[in-house]
């Protein structure tokens, strides 16, 4: 009942938004309100649908098999995340979106995307999974390509990756269907368990590679930064927070449920060098490299999109350990990352709404002008950097611990290195936006309206609350773990209790708060502070005035940049990707020469074809 509604509502929303498109120019508010109500309804239904976990529904019959869908614990979790973040995003767009001129189809495509994602996580057979996967890819493309010219270009890049992924997946679907004779997950599981190693490897490669591409796991992440960064800013938040995780959902579903862990572990040279090791290595690379690439970015959105790749690496790290703690960390990190990245980007969007730019070299000092946005970003980056008491700390702690306990010290080291990079880059982010010198042109900047503040406040509360009381989230995680066939995590309200050391966030938060209070007391009691004009100041040995800008804003990490610049520009992945594109174009160019336009040549092809065909048949006879 609610399950059907979950699929139906986005479709209805899409239809209405599509039809309302004609009225966009005259009254954008109508469409915005409609969309917000629609997404709120979806979120409400998503919450209610929890009652229907485990029930299977049958859809239309295609190719002689029934499309099945239904909710599991895992998919309900994802449905909640999707519905929640969409609703929040839509509320934010009520204020922020310059809708009518640049984005006439914004909400229609968004509804389509939500339909695709919800459909994807609710699919209970391979065919409907693939159909929804494709709908989601196309809708993502449509969402991305709106607006400016550069976003269309970047979206084209995404499309190439997404369609390649889709076609590989289609190959996998056809292969599994042919081999197992069915689209049903249960049949496939049984078939794979008894299949030859060659068949398993083919199936796994064909099915998992698309997920790795969609999850932007190194080295298939090339599409993500431009595509996300050039989208409309709230859409960047939306895409970074949930869209990329659909690939991860596919991985979880197929690795744990459809193929099964033991089948996955059969692939490899030894017990320690197997497919999971490969995944761990890829995940570590994904966590480290993009994080340091982020340091070089001068655009707030682009900086964060690199983090959405890197944080995906963390999630994969946790999941690939396949241990209780690791999967809990991975699954929780999906939620945590979603909340704080949305928070950060909303803050950036709030800044962009007032200043019109996200260029880190041009912003600065906005803390006095947009305090709410500052607070939002502060909460967000504390979470992103994995510092208590925000929720990012909990999941990262799980992941580190699982890596150490699972016997992956080098991977754990990589994770730590990545965290250093994260902290460095988020500091750049908040410093260049809110701290330092306020450029004169932003003197008149005000805080955004309450509609846009609302999602920021909500997310701040969530980031903090789930940080202090991770047990609220962990109870769902434990249920999902049972479903995935992993021993559920022994959670408490404040964290976990286990023999190898437990975690209680409530205590940590208490300590933190006390320390903070002590520090504040010392600060306010002891020091004499004086508020001066920003030009009555000095930095790095020289005084600041209107003509001498606070030059740390430019080349924030210039020394660091100087050391690693060469490495960054080598960017092996991008050049491989470019070369691949060039190769296809060149080969295409040569093949085109086949059509010479010369009638004698064409006639010669003709006779040659006849001769070759005759030779072929003569061989066969």
């Amino acid at each position: 009942m609610y399950t059907q509604a979950l699929l139906l509502l986005p479709l209805v929303g899409f239809g209405v938004a599509f039809l309302l498109q004609g009225t966009v120019k005259r009254s954008p508010a109508i469409v915005k309100t409609w969309a917000m109500l629609g997404f709120a309804a979806i979120a409400a239904v998503a919450a209610l649908a929890g009652a229907e976990i485990g029930t299977l529904y049958e859809g239309p019959t295609v190719f002689g098999s029934v499309l099945t869908y239904g909710l599991t614990d895992l998919s309900w979790w994802f449905v909640l995340l999707i519905a929640g973040i969409t609703a929040l995003t839509t509320v934010f767009t009520l204020g922020s979106l310059r809708y009518a001129d640049d984005y006439p189809m914004y909400y229609a495509w968004l509804f389509a995307k939500v339909f695709g994602m919800i459909g994807l996580v609710m699919s209970r057979d391979l065919l409907s999974f693939f159909i929804m996967w494709e709908i989601m890819s196309w809708a993502t493309y449509l969402v991305m390509q709106q607006g400016r010219d550069e976003s269309r270009k970047a979206a084209q890049g995404y499309l190439v990756y997404a369609i390649s992924a889709g076609m590989i997946l289609l190959g996998g679907v056809v292969f599994l269907r042919t081999a197992s004779g069915s689209f049903e997950f249960a049949v496939i599981t049984k078939f794979v368990a008894g299949a030859d190693l060659g068949v398993i490897i083919t199936a796994i490669v064909l099915v998992l590679v698309p997920f790795l591409i969609e999850a932007a796991v190194y080295p298939t992440h090339g599409w993500l930064p431009s595509a996300y960064a050039s989208s409309e800013t709230t859409m960047t938040a939306y895409l970074s927070s949930i869209s990329t995780r659909m690939g991860l959902f596919g991985l979880i579903l197929f690795v744990f449920n459809v193929f099964g862990l033991d089948v996955i572990d059969r692939i490899g040279i030894s017990a320690h060098l197997n497919l999971r090791t490969l995944l761990l290595v890829l995940a570590a690379l994904t966590a480290v490299l993009p994080t340091y690439t982020a340091l070089f970015q001068h655009d707030a959105k682009r900086l964060l999109t690199w983090h959405s790749i890197g944080q995906g690496g963390y999630m994969l790290l946790g999941l690939a350990t396949a241990s209780t703690l690791g999967t809990a960390g991975g699954l929780m990190h999906i939620f945590n990352y979603m909340t704080y990245v949305a928070l950060i980007i909303f803050s950036i969007a709030a800044v962009e709404y007032r200043t019109g730019t996200t260029n880190l070299n041009k912003l600065g000092g906005l803390i006095t002008r947009q305090p709410v946005a500052f607070l939002g970003m502060l909460f967000g980056i504390i979470g992103l950097a994995g510092i208590p008491p925000m929720n990012g700390f909990v999941s990262k702690w799980f992941i580190y611990r699982s890596l150490i306990l699972g016997g992956y010290p080098f991977v754990a080291l990589a994770a730590f290195i990545a965290t250093v990079g994260t902290i460095m880059s988020v500091y750049k982010l908040i410093h260049n936006t809110f701290l330092g010198q306020l450029p004169e042109r932003y003197n008149e900047v005000r805080e955004v309206g309450w509609v846009m503040q609302l999602p920021i406040w909500v997310l701040m509360a969530v980031v903090f609350a789930t940080g202090v009381f991770p047990g609220t989230i962990l109870q769902w995680i434990a249920r999902i773990q049972v479903e995935l066939g992993i021993a559920p995590i022994a959670y408490t309200l404040g964290g976990v209790a286990q023999e190898a050391g437990d975690l209680n966030m409530m205590v940590i938060t208490l300590v933190f708060t006390l320390t903070f209070i002590v520090g504040a007391v010392i600060f306010f009691m002891g020091g004499k502070r004086r508020i001066v004009s920003q030009y009555d100041n000095y930095a790095a040995g020289h005084f600041l005035n209107k003509d001498v800008p606070y030059n740390f804003n430019y080349n924030f990490y210039s020394a660091f940049d100087h050391i690693f610049e060469k490495l960054y520009h080598a960017a092996p992945v991008q050049s491989t990707e470019r070369n691949l594109g060039r190769l296809v174009a060149t080969v295409g160019e040569y093949i085109r020469r086949f059509f010479t336009g010369q009638i004698n040549t064409y006639a010669a092809y003709y006779v040659a074809a006849v001769i070759i065909a005759l030779a072929f048949l003569k061989e066969v006879l």
Partner: protein, 480 residues
Amino acid sequence: MVSPMLFIIAPLSAAFIMILFNSRVIALGLSLLVPIGLAWLGLSWLPYTLGAAQPILVASIPAPLGIPLSIDALGAGMAILVAVSAALVVLYSSSYMKKGHHEVRYYTVVMILLTSAFGLVLTRDIFNLFVFFEILCISSYILVSWEQDGAALEASFKYMVLGSIGSTFLLVSIALVYRVAGSLAMADVATALATAPRGYVAFAAVTFLFGVGVEAAIFPVNTWLPDAHSSAPSSISAILSGFVIELALVVAFRVLNTAFAAVDTLPLVRVVAIAGVIVGEMAAFGQKDLKRMLAYSSISQIGIMLFAFSLGTQAGAQAGLQHLLMHAGAKSALFLIAGYFIVRTGSRLIADYAGLGHRMPVSAALFGFAALSLVGAPPLLGFFTKFQVLSAAGAAGGFTAWLGVAVILFGTVLETVYLFRVLRVLFAPAASGSPARADMDWPALAAVALFTALVVFGALLLPTLSQMIGPMADGLASLL
């Protein structure tokens, strides 16, 4: 029941009447009414043909002395497709073709082309097939040269030379077959060739394949296609890409698969098909001329259909026919819309269409839908047909089948990229202000919308269709 001979008589008479009265109204009216009537005729015959093929007696002389004709499910289905497409293209032409510019003659030639298309579907006699094939070719030559500019003349000439080589080989094949079989009826040919020397049959089969293959645009005798389909008026491109090559393909494959069944030509056909897919997509990838790009895409789509047929299974044949239906709708729509793009901008180059989507929003949107279906985005019809082809290939198994799957998937990526490059240009921000909306004229728009509706909502028809596609697919392996 009305005799299916009407399929041949009606459009031919219509052509003669048009030339007799030389009036635009009569020509337009007849060329709309005749296909609609024939579509109805096909529909009314379809139920009777699902069970068994219905032979048609000509001149009261049964085969082998006379010319055997027969209407089976495949024939009825193809006839309906041809008639409906033709009616829609004529509707489009009524606003697209320049008034007075040989307009009556244009419709006359279209009617002749229809005659031959129906004739090809019905005939079960290899020489009669040759005659209808020639009518089809000649009327296509004329229609391709319609614009009479340098490109059209050149394209038409190349087409004509290759077509003539094709008919040369086809006649060689027919002569060789008649020498052994002593009869021209396909059923007799099949029995006679079963005992004939294999080399002899192989030679006849290859010359037949490449003889008819010219019109069916199989690789590598399709070199005329990009020139011809891009230089013809867009309505004609839609006819040629929409059903002429498909029809020729079905006819060629059916005869090859039945009359020449004595040698197994399927591996050969499969290789040819896969080569066609990859060459077509690769060549389309770098195109700057929209219609030429669509024409190359037709080459690869034909390859996909032929690949499906060449699997030699019932599932493959069904998948191929469904894909054929999808391609007919999608490619017709794309060409027809491209025609109006050219009318509005005066250019064939994609780069000149920047921001055209704002001037022609409905047309551009329809273009997008048709393109989506062509590349097989679910839940549009194209996805289901392409999936059927792939799973039929998987079921057939073997190296070349899986190779074909890989090539089709790779081709799809390329196809998506180049078709969406067009869409990106179309919806680029308009260069100056917002120009007045100038969508297609309503008859054209109606025609295109119907084609697009087929490929967008066609998936809903699939359950109904699949009951008919089965017997139709059997038709590919039967000569009754």
